[in-house]
């Protein structure tokens, strides 16, 4: 360990020379005095440490899929289909798909969550979500595009780990008083040091490049208690997306989500202050494992005014996500109407109040 020659001033960031005999040290730049122990803790808190993300590699067990890969000439999307289902449209854009190649071997999913709702229920969930959307164009809302709804097993990498995180936070507490002549504001600055651990179970990151990441994240969470061991029979009922990303490419996304959750959990233990902000954090993963899974998603695409709108529906919970077109003339018209009516009403009220 390097010998300490100076501490950093928590107030102005200047160096405060180390003095082994002093109990308190004073910053020569801002004149703030600190106990040596506080400076030691502060120095440790701001020290840069690298995060440690360790994941055990996936077994990579392959299986004989014996399915066909179909690709969409329009958007380039790829879907694995059994021979019995070898027809249809692209789940990503709604165009006709064509046979590309036979998929003989593919990574075997560790688990699969079967579809818990059927197409009718998925469509009903979508209709319910679209109802009451005032700014949705009427011709978009009323159009029947049920026939194009498709169940698709989306490949996911699932990450399990126990995260050990230490974080430091800066807080303030403000007190105000007055002596009649002056108003005083005292801002006290604090440092919170927190360390804790937490276990995460199957944090999902989709392995599909074709599907919008935000769209799939929006329909989470999935209930893994209903997960089954993978069986080819499930693919006879619904198609599967072809995996396009390996686990190592998905790791940073899982790391980020776990890290953010840990910081939020540690920050939630800080109470009684006016403002809290993260100063520094360091995380290490233990027992990092990953699994490969097929999770159930209904997809629906519709082209409206030359733009493709894709919806995803969680095949378990029916949660809906997607992009929606806006009826801007309606927004402007009703916005103007609301402005005029409220202006007149409030103006009349103010007039009668004053008169």
């Amino acid at each position: 360990m390097a010998e300490i020659t100076a501490y950093k001033c928590p107030n102005c960031g200047a160096d405060i020379p180390f003095d082994p005999h002093a109990e308190n040290l004073k910053c020569s730049y801002c004149d703030t005095e600190f106990p040596v122990n506080t400076l030691k803790e502060y120095g440790s808190a701001i020290e840069e440490k690298s995060d440690t993300y360790v994941w055990q590699s996936h077994s990579g067990e392959k299986m004989d899929l014996s399915v066909d890969e179909y690709i969409c000439p329009s958007c380039g999307g790829a879907v694995a289909m059994t021979e019995e289902k070898a027809a249809g449209v692209c789940p990503y854009c709604g165009s006709a798909i064509i046979l590309n190649a036979k998929v003989e071997e593919e990574l075997k999913p560790d688990i699969i969550i079967p579809f818990a709702i059927d197409k009718d229920e998925a469509y009903a969930a979508l209709k319910k979500e679209l109802s009451g959307k005032f700014l949705l164009p009427a011709d978009f809302k009323n159009h029947r595009f049920f026939d194009k709804i498709q169940g698709l097993y989306v490949p996911y990498w699932l990450f399990d780990c126990t995260a050990d995180c230490e974080a430091s936070f800066r807080m303030t507490r403000t007190r105000m008083w007055s002596d009649g002549q002056y108003r005083y504001t005292k801002i006290s600055h604090y440092l919170a040091l927190r360390r804790g651990q937490m276990a995460f179970d199957k944090v999902p990151v989709d392995a599909s490049l074709k599907l919008d990441e935000e769209l799939l994240e929006s329909i989470e969470p999935f209930d893994y208690t209903k997960a089954k061991a993978f069986d080819m029979a499930y693919l006879a009922q619904n198609n599967a997306d072809i995996r396009q990303e390996e686990a190592d490419a998905c790791e940073p996304k899982a790391n980020k989500r776990i890290h953010e959750s840990m910081i939020a959990a540690l920050q939630s233990t800080i109470i009684g202050y006016d403002g809290t902000s993260l100063q520094n954090s360091h995380i290490a993963f233990n027992d990092g494992k990953m699994a490969y899974a097929f999770l159930p998603v209904y997809l629906l695409s519709r082209t409206y005014k030359n733009k493709v709108y894709t919806f995803a529906i969680n095949g378990q919970s029916g949660k809906v996500a997607g992009d929606l077109p806006y009826d801007y003339p309606k927004l402007f018209l009703y916005g103007a109407l609301v402005f005029i009516v409220s202006f007149l009403l409030i103006g009349a009220l103010a007039y009668f109040f004053l008169v």
């Binding site: 801002i187 040091l193 360390r195 937490m198 179970d201 769209l215 989470e220 409220s342």
Partner: protein, 246 residues
Amino acid sequence: MKKFFLALLFLTLSFTLVCADGDNIYDEANLLNEQQKNILEENIEAVEDAYDIDMVILTSLDYYPGDIRMWAADFYDYGGFLSNGLILGINMANREYTIVSSGNIQDVFDNDKIDEILDALASPMQNGHYFGAMEDFVSLSKAALDNPHALSSDDIMMILLSASTCAIIITAVFVIYHLSKMRIKQKATKATAYIEPHSFEMTYQNDLFLYSNIIRNRINRSNSSSRSGSFRGSSGASHSGGSRGF
């Protein structure tokens, strides 16, 4: 006791003035010539006849040690005037002027209206055009009595401003609400749904005080001698009134 004798002295002087001068103008400070007095008397009488009120203008060179609204109110209350009336007092020693209303014309000459007239008189008063200020007082009072529900340009501006501000806020809330309803896609930044229940364990926690800063700001106090509001004169009568320095 001292205050009581001062009040007695004040009342005696007042009655002397009432008896000594005209019906409506008590110009102890000699701010007006005879011609100006006649013009004002004529204008005031026209208002008094039309509305059955008393309208009084009082000027003084004697320093009044207190709220000059009380000075004007007491002069009016003890001067044998009608219960409904209006007085403009100009105290040259205090360098303040005041308007006080009495009786049921307080409905017309409320604090806001009095403030409005006081503000209109500020410029001639500060420029030493006392006759002009008195003329303005009479004409503005007449206008207020002629059209008691007329809104001033300040009132209209306030209505327009508050109505537009509220309408903008309501429209913004309406638009933001409907736009937010259209967002059915949200990026996941955390993995909260995948935390194993009861697995969170704190292994270390410490809160340290680092330092504190104190910011000191001088409290700004208004130097203006402006006053406004309802009050009671020493006679117990209720008045509306305001005053300004000049």
